[in-house]
Symmetry: C2
Subunit: 148 residues, 2 copies
DNA sequence: ACATATAGTTGTAATTTGCAAATAAAATAA
DNA sequence: TTATTTTATTTGCAAATTACAACTATATGT
């Protein structure tokens, strides 16, 4: 039996690199964390700071500062919630949405390239496998709580 | 069809977190990058600085300093290569080997926990899928060159 | 011997990180 | 209603991480 961790280590590192490489759009520089933040805000509808920070397993203070950067860059908008003015609601600006979409397209294009080396059946199998894996990781009690 | 990037994003993030959580052994604190470095040195036999830095897609200067830290912690040994004295050969000390092994066991234990939510057949399928995926990523021309 | 290339290190300055403490707005208790 | 506690977010600060440019030291080619 092959070393299972090895497989994960390699895959994870590769995808991390991929993400990193795909993060300079136009003349806007986006760090890896920032791209994760954009992705997460884009996916949810008007999440709070806490929610996103927790989803990413980030310290809230670090997150706060990253959001400040993204706001300064004009990619994220922070709107105070009327019902509870302690809470800020996050959303992407038009520019932010554009960046997020571009990154997404970039990564998906790469993934398609990778899948092009497989048969349609293999591709389906791999995708179903990862889906299953995610579900089982979510079930797990040991670790990785902060996600979903 | 589900969003493929989403699947990868979640999985990668989870595994990254897992790695991060598993990095405090005894009273030695190991950062995520450092654990990757230990892993890579352990896997290869007496690699050079360049080789490991490249495998991890790290800037060589950053890597150099990380190695200095690991040497200071007594986890890594740097041996000049007799044939070419510009080159340093990296290896783990006994302590370093112990730490690397402990992290490895920790992560494998978690992975086993995750797989315990699957049938044996599903497990086999998932592992084969990830293996295939890695192979196809390696074939790809677009991105992720620095690895293997 | 001289120029050039390679492996690794340091100077330095910017960025990122997270703990502790502060602010500010609910929610709850009295 | 006021006082107390809890919750969401922000700052102070000091340490760790990063990467570019410049440097040292060794090896290779002419």
């Amino acid at each position: 039996m092959e070393n299972i961790r090895e497989l994960f280590q390699v895959m994870t590192r590769r995808f991390g690199l991929l993400n990193k490489n795909c993060c300079s759009i136009d003349d806007v520089d986006i760090s890896l964390v920032q791209s994760h933040i954009l992705y997460e805000i884009d996916k949810r509808e008007h999440p709070s700071m806490q929610q996103v920070a927790e989803a990413l397993g980030m310290d809230i203070t670090t997150f706060s500062r990253q959001i400040q950067n993204l706001v300064k860059k004009g990619l994220v908008k922070k709107t105070p919630l009327p019902e509870d003015r302690r809470v800020y609601t996050l959303s992407l600006t038009t520019e932010g949405k554009f960046i997020a979409t571009t990154i997404d397209r970039e990564i998906n294009r790469y993934l398609e390239e990778v899948f092009s080396h497989m048969t349609e059946f293999e591709k389906e199998t791999v995708i179903r496998s990862i889906k299953l894996l995610n579900e089982c990781m979510a079930k797990s009690s040991v670790c990785c709580k902060p996600l979903f």
